[in-house]
Each structure stands twice: as structure tokens, then as C-alpha cells.
């Protein structure tokens, strides 16, 4: 990993996130948890007429998880759900190292996270927001915890 991973885009979105607040009137809200870092966010969205009209997140976590969620909301607010899903797909492929440069350019500031593809331990942090979004719009459910009793 090189010394520039924690670039200004990332630290700015982490320290001064624009979308980290409570969202009144959200019609979708879901908690996303990454047990490995202990990242824990609640993603809230206003989805109407197939559009992501508004969105916000709350919670705690590492810089990568928090910045990634904030950048994601920048990208998907105002988009159709279909377009947002397409961007999510590009993001997931970028993290796997499978997206083209042209595709990554579409992610705008999201491209600041492309080096996560070389950091297997941080993949879950980077995709937490996007996974939570996908779970909301596709109804997929992930369950990582096992009760011991």
C-alpha cells in the first residue's frame, strides 16, 4: 500500500461528512454492520417514484466506511434507483479490481477508494454503505452473526 491512500477526498468525507445526520421523513432505513472493524451505520433513504430523492446516514466506524457512505450518498441522491444500482455495481467491481478506468471515472470521488482493491482487510469497510443500499433496494439480507448459547 502506498502512502497516499488516506487522501484528502477520503479524510474530508470522514471528518466533515455532508450526509451524516438524521433524516426526517425517510421511507427506508436499514442498519449495516461490518463486524471486523466494528463499523455500524444506519442508512436512511427517501425513495419515491423510482427515484432516490434524499438520503443520509448515522453511525460510527473507520474512515473508509464513513467516507465511502458519504461519497455514495453524493452519487445516488437525485438518481433513479436503477442508475444508483448501476453505480453500485461499478463500485463493487472497482473494489474487486474488475472495473475499467472509464467506469471508475463515473464514480467521481468514489474513485478515491479504488486502492482498496489491494487491501483485502478493508474491503468490507469500503462496501458497507453500498451493501446497505443494495439490501434496501433489492431486499437482499445478510446475516453474519451466530448466537452462542
Amino acid at each position: 500500500m502506498n502512502g497516499t491512500f488516506y487522501n484528502e477526498v477520503l479524510t474530508e468525507h470522514n471528518v466533515r461528512p455532508y450526509h451524516k445526520h438524521h433524516l426526517e421523513g425517510a421511507n427506508f432505513s436499514l442498519e449495516g454492520v461490518n463486524p471486523s472493524c466494528g463499523d455500524d451505520i444506519i442508512l436512511s433513504l427517501v425513495i419515491e417514484d423510482g427515484m432516490v430523492k434524499d438520503g443520509a446516514f448515522e453511525g460510527d466506524g473507520c474512515a473508509i466506511s464513513q467516507a465511502s457512505a458519504d461519497i455514495m450518498l453524493d452519487l445516488i441522491i437525485g438518481q433513479t434507483v436503477e442508475e444508483a444500482k448501476r453505480l453500485a455495481d461499478i463500485f463493487f467491481r472497482m473494489i474487486k479490481g474488475e472495473a475499467t478506468d472509464e467506469e471508475i471515472e463515473e464514480l467521481d470521488e468514489g474513485s478515491a477508494l479504488r486502492d482498496v482493491s489491494h487491501m483485502p482487510a478493508r474491503v468490507k469497510c469500503a462496501v458497507l454503505g453500498w451493501h446497505t443500499f443494495e439490501t434496501i433496494v433489492m431486499g437482499k439480507k445478510r446475516d453474519d452473526t451466530i448466537e452462542t448459547k
Binding site: G3, T11, V15, D60, A63, M119, K149
Partner: protein
């Protein structure tokens, strides 16, 4: 006067690598003496121990059983009380699955220190659940001290087992095991001690500790991964059922009967890790060659230097005691506004390798009211330069994360 520069050169990864390795509590680097012992075993001594009747197998058996004798002397136990396992986790599972299975019944109680590694917690929770026993947690004060009074308050006539580390992998403080074990005994319970973080760094004697079981890993003291130790009091081991079943753990087997081998072989089913045992024996020699007083003194000196550096950096907080003597080279800390995984990643950019996360002690983090922490841990091969590099990197951290 010990020459620590020379000791450092005994560790190829440390000597040749351009990084400050401060993750010894997770696993220690290996000296040439250990690597050579493993190589010698496989080049000159390898056959299946305990089995063949030819010279080479006899030699392999001598190496393996010789390592057992050395380990017994090392911790002050009897040779047949030493069971080789893969690591401390397996050792603790062995006690839970066999001793726990045998003695626990519904309504019995197990007491576990809240700061335990999951390895000395989950096996007990498993067997407690299976047998209908209850798990109770022993809590420490804000400095990480477990007082005899707090244990006394939890002990009842139903307490069967008390499980606790001699040194917590988070706090680094040495618990007063002799006093706590004596208390457990007075209530009729046995005391299971996790020595994973203590045995590599200080002289440990099972009789002085007064415990019933002691578990530790070879890899944390310079031996290869995959060799660990369980020591148990002979009279307890003899009464315990086997752990795993298969080759080499029997006296004889007929179609409908089986007589198990005597201890320790009863607990060592299948082909053993003789190369690992040879490495463990070499690691014991290596550490004793330096001397545990020297090891403790040196590690505490470097720990003091690191703690002094950390205290000069605002927003960095050390968990546990303020006295480096009470840290066993383990410094767990957190930084305001920076997630531990980001701390570790930024420090890694500067070639400083530390651990971040919950260090397999999630309930303890919850108890302390933090999600996760960062941990720098010191080994005998670390230098003042490593500490300086760590402190330099840490002092720039908040700025690099856009916080200053």
C-alpha cells in the same frame, strides 16, 4: 551486559526487514536457532515418532519426547503432564471438552475474567451451554486489577472452574494468579490459566502459580506456528476422557473394546508435530540463553520509552496502568477521532506494524466502553529505533487524517 544488537541479528525477518515489527503479542518472529532446529529435524531426524522400530524413528521419538522433557522443566511440571497441542486455543478447548465435560452438571458455574481472549471464553461458554452450567464474569477495576475480593464475591459452592489469563493480551498486567488460584481452590474449583502472553516473557512456574492447568502457544515465543502446550496436574489429566480419538492414543483396540494410552499420549491422537516440538525446544533454549530477567528488563525499558512518547502526543490514550512495569510490553491505546484500523493502516505506511481491532476480546472492549483499540507489543528483538519510528508516525496521525 547483553548485546541487544546481536540478539536482533538472530531474527532474519527483523534483521533484513525495513519495518518496526510491534505485533509480537499476535505472533513472535523466529530466530535462526529455531529455524535450524526445524530444518535439522526434517533433514536428519524425521520419521513418525513413537511408532517405528528402526533407528530413525527412535531418533524422531527422542527429539519429540526430549522437547516434552524440556518443556516440563521449563515450566516446573512433570514430563507426562505436558500435552502438545497446536496452540493455546486448542489447549483450552481440550480442557473444556474433557475436564469440563466430565465435571460439569446443570446449575454448576464457571467464572471467566472479563478481559479473557475469546480462546479462554468461548470453549467455556460452549461446554456451559451443553451441560446447563452458568458462566459468570469476573470484572476488573479501571486499572485492570482483579482483586481477590471480587473473585471471592463470585465464588459459590457450585463454582467448578475459574478461567483466567496470567497476562491479558490487552492490558499486559500480570494478574495475581497465586492468590486467585488459592481462592478458587478454597471453593473447590479448579483454576485454568492462559499463559499465552506470560510464558514468552517471564519465568513461569506452575507450582508457584498454584494452578491446575496452564495453556500456552509456541509461536508467541519464537517457536513455529502449530505447536502449543497444555500442562495439567497429573491426577486431573488421568481422570479426564480423551480429547480426540484415533492413532497413537490407545493401548489396544479390539472389535468391541478399547483401552486408552496413559497420559500424555491419551491426548495426542494422530501423527504429532515433531518438527514443531523440535522448534519449541530450540525456542526455550534461545529464550533461556538470554534469560527471562534480561528479556523482561529490556522489554520494559522499550515499553517505558514508548509510553513516554505516547504521553507526549495529545489525544492518544493508553488502556490500563500508567506504569510500564505493569504492561509486559503490551501497549493498547486509542486515538480521539481515528478508528483503530485507520491508525494501523497509516502506521503501516510508515513501516510500523501494529495490531488493531478487538484483539479477540470483544466483551472486554464492550466492558471498557470502546469498540476497538490499537495495540503495539514489544519483543526482545525490538530496538529504540523501532519505538522512535512508531512514535514519529503516531505523532503525525491526526494531521494525516485531516483532524489537525
Amino acid at each position: 551486559m547483553t548485546d541487544f544488537e546481536l540478539i536482533r541479528k538472530e531474527f532474519p525477518l527483523i534483521d533484513k526487514g525495513d519495518f518496526a515489527y510491534l505485533d509480537t503479542s499476535a505472533t513472535a518472529q523466529k530466530p535462526y536457532a529455531v529455524l535450524e532446529a526445524v530444518r535439522r529435524y526434517y533433514e536428519e531426524e524425521n520419521a513418525n515418532p513413537l511408532r517405528g522400530l528402526y533407528d530413525l524413528s527412535v531418533k524422531a521419538t527422542e527429539v519429540y519426547e526430549g522437547a516434552r522433557e524440556k518443556t516440563a522443566r521449563f515450566i516446573g511440571g512433570e514430563t507426562e503432564e505436558i500435552i502438545f497441542t497446536r496452540n493455546a486455543s486448542e489447549s483450552l478447548n481440550l480442557v473444556a471438552y474433557t475436564y469440563g465435560e466430565k465435571v460439569l452438571s446443570e446449575g454448576d458455574e464457571i467464572i471467566i475474567a472479563i478481559s479473557e481472549h475469546h480462546s479462554n471464553m468461548l470453549p467455556w461458554r460452549y461446554i456451559a451451554g451443553k451441560k446447563g452450567a452458568a458462566v459468570k464474569y469476573l470484572e476488573c477495576d479501571e486499572n485492570g486489577v482483579y482483586s481477590p475480593d471480587s473473585l471471592r464475591a463470585l465464588l459459590t459452592e457450585r463454582t467448578r472452574i475459574v478461567a483466567m489469563a496470567q497476562v491479558s493480551n490487552i492490558l499486559g498486567r500480570v494478574n495475581d494468579i497465586p492468590a486467585l488460584a488459592a481462592l478458587a481452590h478454597s471453593a473447590g474449583a479448579v483454576f485454568v490459566c492462559d499463559g499465552a502472553q506470560s510464558v514468552p516473557h517471564m519465568k513461569v512456574d506452575v507450582k508457584e502459580l498454584g494452578v491446575d492447568f496452564l495453556a500456552f502457544s509456541g509461536h508467541k515465543m519464537g517457536a513455529p506456528m502449530g505447536i502449543g502446550v497444555l500442562w495439567g496436574r497429573k491426577e486431573l489429566l488421568e481422570e479426564m476422557p480423551p480429547f480426540m480419538y484415533g492413532g497413537e492414543m490407545i493401548e489396544y483396540v479390539t472389535a468391541d473394546r478399547v483401552k486408552y494410552a496413559e497420559i500424555p499420549h491419551k491426548f495426542e491422537a494422530g501423527t504429532v508435530n515433531a518438527g514443531g516440538a523440535a522448534g519449541l525446544a530450540a525456542a526455550i533454549d534461545f529464550n533461556e540463553g538470554i534469560g527471562f530477567e534480561n528479556i523482561h528488563k529490556r522489554e520494559t525499558e522499550l515499553c517505558a520509552l514508548a509510553m513516554e512518547g505516547i504521553r507526549s502526543i495529545p489525544h492518544v490514550h493508553i488502556i490500563g496502568s500508567e506504569d510500564p512495569e505493569e504492561h509486559c510490553g503490551i501497549i493498547t491505546f486509542y486515538v480521539d477521532g481515528v478508528h483503530p484500523h485507520d491508525i494501523s493502516a497509516v502506521l503501516a505506511d510508515d513501516g510500523v506494524y501494529i495490531r488493531a481491532g478487538h484483539h479477540c476480546a470483544q466483551p472486554f472492549h464492550k466492558f471498557m466502553g470502546v469498540m476497538s483499540t490499537a495495540r503495539a507489543s514489544i519483543g526482545i528483538y525490538n530496538s529504540e529505533k523501532d519505538i522512535e519510528r512508531f512514535i514519529n508516525s503516531l505523532s503525525q496521525l491526526r494531521r494525516r487524517m485531516g483532524l489537525e
